[in-house]
Amino acid sequence: METIRNYLETMFSSLPHTPEVLRAKNELWQMMEDKYNELRNEGISDNEAVGTVISEFGNLDELSEDLGIHSVVTHTTPINSRKVSLEECKQYLKARASFGFKIALGVLLCIISPIGATLTDGFSSSIYEAFGACFLIICVAAAVVLFVSSPIIMHRYDFLKQEPCTIDFSTTHYINDQKERYRPTYALLLTIGIVLCILSFLPAAILDTLNLKLGRLSIDNISGTLLFIFVAIGVFMIVLTSMINSSYDTLLKLNDATTVGGNFVSTQHPEKQYISKTAATIMSVYWTTVTCIYLSISFLTFDWHLTWIIWPIASVIHAVLNSTLKK
């Protein structure tokens, strides 16, 4: 029911608020509500009933003459935009998920590539050294293969960025629904990933206090290796889940406010509008610059116990800039 109401609101959102338009909206709502209720009483599922009502709604163009809104209706019809079907969207989401998995795997391989070397560090035999080097090269090579090959599959979907595309209302609704369903998984994976990265020093700290030795492996070997593995798994989770999550937004951003399907993204997370292009550029590189400054000063002076003060200062400056540069 909510969906039907949203649909009607979106259809009418670009129309002027004249008495004729309001009356048409109310009458159409009455008919849609009646039809929905009757379908539901016949035992038809909510989804199906919503689908039937929306597919039998018709086209607002038909009303344009009666409502004196002809100019508005024709004006807002998007020009030659490519319609992306639900099936295409599903394929795209699937492709993005497998693409994300491959890239995340590549990153994981890069991070764990030195563990062969760290594990055998300090061993006198040259066989072990060769093993470490081989492991590194194989990992990096595999990662490069993944990085180079996987984007090729995604080229099929370049049109999403290059052409004006629209998705219809039910597709938008489906994707938004999928995104909502993915949200808990996204939050969980992201949290675990970040926690793993933070905790990567933990095994080293614990092992150091235990002071044990496993055969020829020293504590340094094990703790160094564990650090890489922790970070690798953490980063893998973060990369994978962020890529999947962003694929929903890519599709949802296709529509803008003037299209019938409605734009779920821009109303929920309105993009920040700055007073000028320069201001937008400054704001987009702000945090990277701060990080650079922080790291440079810290490494030059080695006063890590003092340099953290940059962060609170930076965030205060950010807040001030944000309020002055925003429209």
């Binding site: 008919m31 039809k35 009757e38 709604f57």
Partner: protein, 117 residues
């Protein structure tokens, strides 16, 4: 192609609605439901088409709208009833259809009336 093109049927939406309103005053969804039932679901009128027909015919004086409570539920609805000039218009449309049907009929192949094209 077994569905009716909306261009062809457009001129006769009014006839269908007026026919139903001649029997008793009615409201939007009831009319669309009756059209669906009477045509054995061969024609489903779109909500916008129906509303557009209502406003057009009301402007021309063929029908009148009034607000009324539905029996039982107490929900307020807009009902439509046919006027005298609406009845005349209906009769005129009927005559027009009989003529149209007669004219077009001359050009329809009889051997294979429901060909599988």
């Amino acid at each position: 192609m077994n569905s009716i093109s909306s261009d062809v049927i457009r001129g006769y939406n009014d006839t269908m609605i007026l026919y139903l309103l001649m029997q008793r005053p009615s409201y939007g969804y009831e009319i669309s439901k009756q059209i669906k039932q009477l045509t054995q679901e061969k024609y489903i009128i779109k909500e916008t088409t129906l509303y557009s027909a209502f406003t057009r015919m009301e402007k021309n004086g063929y029908i009148e709208s009034f607000s009324s409570d539905e029996e039982g539920s107490g929900k307020r609805r807009t009902y439509y009833r046919i006027t005298e000039s609406g009845k005349n218009f209906y009769k005129e449309k009927c005559r027009e259809w009989i003529l149209t049907k007669e004219v077009v009929e001359h050009f329809i192949l009889k051997e294979e009336p429901y060909g599988n094209n």
